[in-house]
Subunit: 579 residues, 2 copies
């Protein structure tokens, strides 16, 4: 490609609404243009990256036995009503009406349509397993689209769906996709981590997220540097930090703690470690019968820990939905306001759920259910009954023992770019997608679903790989692998000849190369290509050529290397290999 | 690809709503599945064809200097309001609202968005010309979707847009796209014809349709076998069939024609040729001021001809929209009901528009504006004034002189698969998409737009190429180029070895081959692959192998050719070359 025949539309200013590097850099590099909140066009330079992402995904999906299909963007509501997601899905589901007033959705994902295909196409166990995938436009009507294409409304997603005869087969399909995803993100040249994750709204019982490591990521990834344990913080298991409970050594005392409403304040006031305090959190669940009062729950975690709401939502009784209690409910049940709540002497009975660590604490401090007072020297079994409901309620923190017993946990930030789900028979049962098994009896298809945010991968790659000058593309995703800058193009035939020769040589080697023949000033060219993030730049100018030299510079290098013109090809190829 | 690892979902029955061959065959071959009216999924076999169509288009668009972009499927209404198409477009434009109650459209085409891109990206004449294209999902909310994917609601379209400094440049871009389209459909192996066409709702002043020739096509293509003249019947110029008007030789007479309301009846009754009669058609245009009566128009065409409404719509005064007159309007202006209308003695004055041929007729027959009476021996200048408004009002018929003066015209049926438009500065003016020209002054971008119905090409290819047994794909579009049927797969190692060897050899030659290793009965296999339309079938069975023979059959052949096993590869390749 020659730059004069291509569209390069870099710009100096980042959009005013851009909060993160990828949004700023993609806009400045002329890769995307915004038309409305969360709705973008991909310009030629940006689309080249999208196509490279898609190609890697397609090749690995095909190699893993996936079959590409294409499902409609506009899908009939009837299918979504069959699974109940028409009602369950929030306003992110774009619901629309056609000219005959019939309901449709703009696909955010395609479980319903693919299950509709499966129930029509798959009749016998002999046809299984099957894996259908598509790379298609998706839409989620985000309330507040932001971060450019990272949380846009319209985006491209690869979604795959596996169908198996039994759970064992489905697990195998799941593992196959897990392996394919590992190959995909490895080939893309991205630092990533697969972590166990919560299944959320998609449902099912097993899931992993594929996270691109980046300091700007919204997700917290918990991992064990000494083993292969890794999980999203939503799911990462927090073990008890106290192996055996110590004996009670202090008397229970109601101690004045005026103005100390937070655990940190209490610890400072009493001159004790924060790890000796206990935090009280009050939740409410709606009653089964209307008109009855809400059930109030008291959750206890150690003062230095944070509540993990996903984990709380898995406690029996809280697993059908909960909310935080209102101030009125708290006053009614505890006789005081938040800040001084505790398990001893509540005004009305509440359901107690105790974190694993708290259950093993002794001589601890908790609110006394009276303003400006805390209980010190609290001990289970003596001052209050032994806890009956003990659960993992807290977020893991750095240094926690790994749940696999090998060493301690570390945490890093990541951007979710892929997600694999073991679905089981949920969708197939509600949509009556059955097949005849080996005994001739109908059985529901066992399913899995597997997504990759195609356009999101672009953003994540940039978040992971950029510097003050611009994007640093991994070779596999770069819009061009090499740029040849012809300095003084208009004036020097020598430059034109040398640059064109190297351009043809690189093309012959299968390198995706662009020849900058725009006759721009070197400073402008260099700044543009560094912003765009092409891995290797070759500079050919009259001055260098007089000494028989050509400059080669890797995007991460501090300066250019001058090499004899005859070696420029090999040097550029070697640099590229290392990117 | 091995058939056991692929999804083949042929079915015996065509859908009950299928009216045309492509709809029936694509469904029966397992290429598409319907989810709602005009909304389909593409199954693996169908998508392989789509991808081949896309690849050819992409390669030729790139070769012609096009740059691929991706514009959103969901587009903000504001842009469509700028050009006025938000109001002008009919209910085919799917208008939707997001969660914040903002208006959007599901793109049927992307002139607005691409012009929005152009006005932001193109600032100087130095950046021109540019050609942006995309291959993307489109949606038209057809009132009555039918013919499978041929007139579906959701479909894939390649839409390209060119931007130039001046009309001359834009014409050159237009010609470049015309040439690219010619290469595209030639590479696809389709019999097609480019015809001049009306510009319709897209606007602009020059346009050509690319039509795949097929007897089941909805469009009539007029062409001159002796020259390169070709036009859609909407546009094809009809010259006068009478070079010089003959002298009047009959007296004007009011002749009884009881019950003869159609020209055919009058001609039969009077025992004259139908070419001596004239047909009266009454149109109405709305008045400029409200409350005033509509203007009534009388159009005269020869009795054996048909009115062309597109042409009528180009007559001064009718070019802002017209309708057929109501019966009340006709009675008011002519004093009688349709069937006996004519230009002589109307009850009220009407505007007269005369077809070119009629203007040169003499001694003709027309209605007498009295029930059961016609005028015979009507002559211009004697019985009524010389016609002042003479226009081309009729459809061309087979045998008409060609407007280029070379021989006569023929007509065939076609399916529109591509359309190129010279747009000029309409969109760029309304959206203020200007650039600085060589004198430093702002000028509007000169545009062209160019569409190919990607999924429609599939249907058209089938309409053109099928027989009683199924589809006959041109090699370039076939889901697989060659199928190897292993007969008795499960039982014979000999068969498995020979088939696998040939399979690997064909793959090594770059042939897209599928190995049918399903252990099906030969009759079932053959019927399936003939339905699917794979160009070349190789059959390998125990019986043949014992004599060292393998069968090779082209999809259009009546029977298979038995060749020595060692020659099977060359024979299959030769067959393929000829498809």
């Amino acid at each position: 490609m020659r730059a004069t025949q291509f569209h390069i539309g870099t710009q100096k200013e980042a959009p005013t609404d851009a909060e993160i590097a990828s949004h700023k850099l993609m806009t400045r590099a002329g890769m995307i243009r915004k038309h409305a909140g969360g709705i973008y066009s991909y310009l030629p330079l940006g689309l080249r990256v999208v196509r490279k992402v898609e190609k890697i995904i397609r090749e690995e999906m095909d190699a893993a036995g996936g079959m590409e299909v294409s499902m409609p963007v506009i899908q009939p509501a009837e299918l979504w009503q069959e699974t109940g997601r028409w009602d369950k899905f929030g306003p992110e589901l774009m619901r629309i009406k056609d000219r005959h007033n019939r309901d449709f959705v703009v696909q955010p994902t395609s479980e319903e349509v693919v299950t509709d295909i499966a129930r029509n196409e798959i009749h016998s166990w002999r046809q299984l397993p099957k894996n259908f995938y598509q790379i298609q436009t998706k839409f989620r009507d985000e309330r507040r689209p932001r971060f450019g294409i990272m949380r846009g409304r319209e985006f491209t997603m690869k979604d795959a769906y596996s169908f198996d005869r039994d759970e064992e087969g489905a697990k195998k399909s799941y593992e196959g996709m897990y392996a394919a995803y590992t190959r995909i993100f490895t080939r893309m040249g991205l630092a990533f981590r697969a972590v166990k994750a919560d299944t959320g709204a998609i449902g099912g019982s097993l899931s992993h997220e594929f996270q691109v490591i980046a300091d700007t990521g919204e997700d917290l990834l918990v991992y064990n540097p000494q083993s292969d344990y890794a999980a999203n913080i939503e799911l990462a298991e927090a073990v008890s930090l106290i192996e055996t409970r110590g004996a009670a050594s202090e008397p229970l005392a109601k101690t004045p703690t005026p103005g100390a409403a937070r655990c940190e304040d209490v610890a400072a006031l009493l001159k004790i470690d924060l790890t000796r305090t206990v935090k009280s959190l009050v939740l409410a669940t709606e009653p089964e019968k209307e008109g009855q009062p809400a059930q109030i729950w008291l959750l206890l975690i150690r003062g230095d820990h944070e509540l993990n709401e996903i984990k709380a939502g898995k406690v029996e009784g809280l697993n059908k939905g909960f909310r935080f209690a209102t101030e009125a409910e708290i006053v009614e049940h505890f006789g005081t306001l938040p800040g001084y709540l505790g398990p001893i002497g509540t005004a009305k009975p509440v359901k107690l759920v105790v974190d694993r660590t708290v259950a093993n604490m002794s001589d601890f401090v908790a609110g006394a259910n009276e303003a400006d007072f805390h209980h010190t020297g609290v001990n289970w079994g003596r001052d209050l009954p032994e806890p009956t409901v003990i659960a993992d309620l807290r977020n893991v923190v750095v240094g926690d023992p790994s749940p696999d017993g090998k060493g301690t946990l570390a945490i890093q930030r990541g951007i979710e770019v892929g997600h694999v789900f073991f679905l089981g028979a949920g969708y197939s049962t509600s949509m009556k997608a059955t097949f005849l098994d080996q005994t001739g009896k109908p059985a529901p298809l066992q399913m899995g679903c597997y997504g990759i945010g195609v356009t999101r991968v672009m953003g994540a790659a940039i978040e992971q790989n950029h510097d003050g000058r611009g994007i640093i593309w991994p070779r596999a995703l770069a819009p061009f692998e090499v740029v040849i800058c012809g300095v003084g193009w208009g004036k020097s035939e020598l430059v034109r000849d040398a640059a064109t020769k190297l351009y043809e040589e690189l093309k012959a080697k299968g390198v995706d190369v662009i020849l900058d023949d725009r006759d721009e000033r070197p400073g402008v060219m260099f700044a543009e290509w560094e912003l765009i993030g092409v891995p290797v730049r070759v500079t050919i100018g009259d001055r260098g050529l007089k000494d028989g030299l050509i400059e080669v510079q890797g995007r991460r290098d501090d300066g250019a290397e001058k090499v004899p013109a005859a070696e420029a090809l090999d040097k550029a190829l070697a640099k590229l290999e290392s990117m």
